[in-house]
C-alpha cells in the first residue's frame, strides 16, 4: 500500500468561527492522529526483514508502507499497536517495544 495523499495544506480551525456550519465540509472529515492509543510500538529490524510484505498485507489499518527504497515503513501517526505484524512476521523481524513511560 502506498501512503495516502495527505492534505498538507490542512490547517485546523483556530476558533469556533472557522468551523463549518453543521457537519458539511468540502475536505471530508477532520483528520487527527491517534498515536496516543498505543502502548506498544512495532519496530522493524531492517537486518532481518526480507521485504516479504506479509505485514503490509495483514496490517488492519493499512499503516505499513512500501514506498521507501530502504524497505518497509510504519506510519506511527495512525498505527494503533495491535501487534498483528509482529505476530505474523515469519522472519521475527518486528519487535513490540514499550511506548514511553
Amino acid at each position: 500500500m502506498n501512503y495516502p495523499v495527505r492534505q498538507k495544506s490542512f490547517k485546523p480551525p483556530k476558533d469556533l468561527a472557522e468551523y463549518p456550519v453543521g457537519t458539511a465540509f468540502p475536505a471530508g472529515h477532520l483528520v487527527e492522529t491517534n498515536a496516543s492509543w498505543r502502548s506498544l510500538r512495532p519496530v522493524i529490524d531492517a537486518g532481518k526483514c526480507t521485504s516479504c510484505r506479509i505485514c503490509w498485507l495483514l496490517c488492519p489499518d493499512g499503516v505499513i508502507h512500501n514506498t521507501k527504497p530502504e524497505g518497509l515503513d510504519i506510519d506511527y501517526d495512525y498505527c494503533k499497536g495491535c501487534g498483528i505484524c509482529a505476530k505474523e512476521c515469519r522472519q521475527k523481524a518486528i519487535r513490540m517495544e514499550n511506548e514511553g513511560i
Binding site: 480551525p13 469556533l16 456550519v21 453543521g22 457537519t23 458539511a24 465540509f25 477532520l30
Partner: protein
Amino acid sequence: MLGQKAFLSGNEAVAAGVRLARPHVIAAYPITPQTTVIERLAEMVEDESLKAEYLHVESEHSALSACIGASAVGARTFTATSSQGLLYMAECLHYASGGRFPVVMMNANRSLALPWNIYGDQRDSLSLLDCGWIQVYAEDAQESLDLIIQGYAVAEHSDVLTPMMINLDGFVITHTYELVSLPAQQDVDAFLPPFRTVNKMDLDHPMSLAFTAGPAYNQAFKQLQHQAVLAASKVILETEERFGQLFGRYYPGLLETLFCDDAETILVTLGSVAGTVRPVVERLRSLGERVGLVRIRYMRPFPEAEIRKALSGAKAVGVLEKDISFGYEGTVFTNVNSALMRAKVMPPRLLNFVGGLGGKDISAIDIERLFLRLKSPDDGETVEFI
C-alpha cells in the same frame, strides 16, 4: 391583508399552517393524538392543494430520518409525532440538531407508557429537552398555526439552523375546535422565503455530509449548537415582530406575563393549562388579590432573563407542570429555579406543583386552590401532586 377564518381543531390548524409554509417533503407515521394532522396533510397532497412529496414511512425513526435526508438536499420538511413516537425518534433528534437540519416538527404532548395511556401530559417532550431542538409550547389552535409559519422562519434562519419542535397538549389543544384566522398564501410567501442553505448535498459544490469529528474537534460543534439555540432568542423576537406587522397578531416572545408587575403570588406554567389559569387570575384580580401568571412559551432557548424579571417582585411562586423527573422534581421547576438562583433573586416561597399526568384534569377550582396554597406558610413537600 386579512385571510379567511375557519373553525379548526389544533391539529387542523397545524395542517393549515404547514400547507401555507409550502414544505417540499412530509414524512410522518400516525399516532394518537397527532393522527389528524397527517391525515389532513395527506388529503391536501392528494387534492394537490399542497405540492409536496408525502412519504409513507414504517416508523417515527424513519419519518425523522427521511426528513433529515430531505433537508440535507435543501428541502423544507415537516413531520409530526407524539409520545412513544417521539421517543422512538430520539436518536434521530440528535442527528437533526447536530447536523443543523432545520426540520419543523409538531408534537402532540401525550403521556408515556406504562401504564398505557393516550392522554395529555408533557413528559414526552420535556424528557427530551437536551436533544438540541428549539422547543415551544402553544396555548391554542391559532398560536399553533402561527408557530408553524414562524417556526420555519426561525429554524431556517442562518444564525439558527436548528430544528424546531412545536408542542400542542394532546386532545386539549389538538382536538378542540376554535375560530382560526388563516393567513393569505401570498402574505405567507412574502414572510417566508424559500429555504436556502449551504449545508446540503449539491452536485455543483460537493461536500462531505454528516461526517465524523473526533475528540479534538467534536466539542466545538456542540458549542456551536449551544450558540445557535441561544441566538434563536433574538431571532424569535424579530420573527414575531415581522409576523405581527404582516398579520396583525403579535406574540410576547419566549414567555408571556399577566399582571406580574405588582403580583405577590405568581403561577408559572406552560401549554394549555395557561388557558385555565388566565380567567382564574382575572377573577381573583377583580376580588383584589394580587396574583399573576407566567406562561412559558419557549423551553429552549429558555427565557432566563425574562423569568427573573417577571418573578423578581413576587412573594410566592408556584411552578405548575405536567411532568416529573422521578426522584427529584419537575423539569420546568428545575429550569425556573436555576434561572432565579443564578441571579440570586429568590422569592421567599417557591413551590413545585405536578399535575395532569396521564391526562388528569386540572380545573379552575384546582388553580384557585393552588393560589390559596401559595399564600399558606407551610413549605410542604418538594413536589406537591395536584
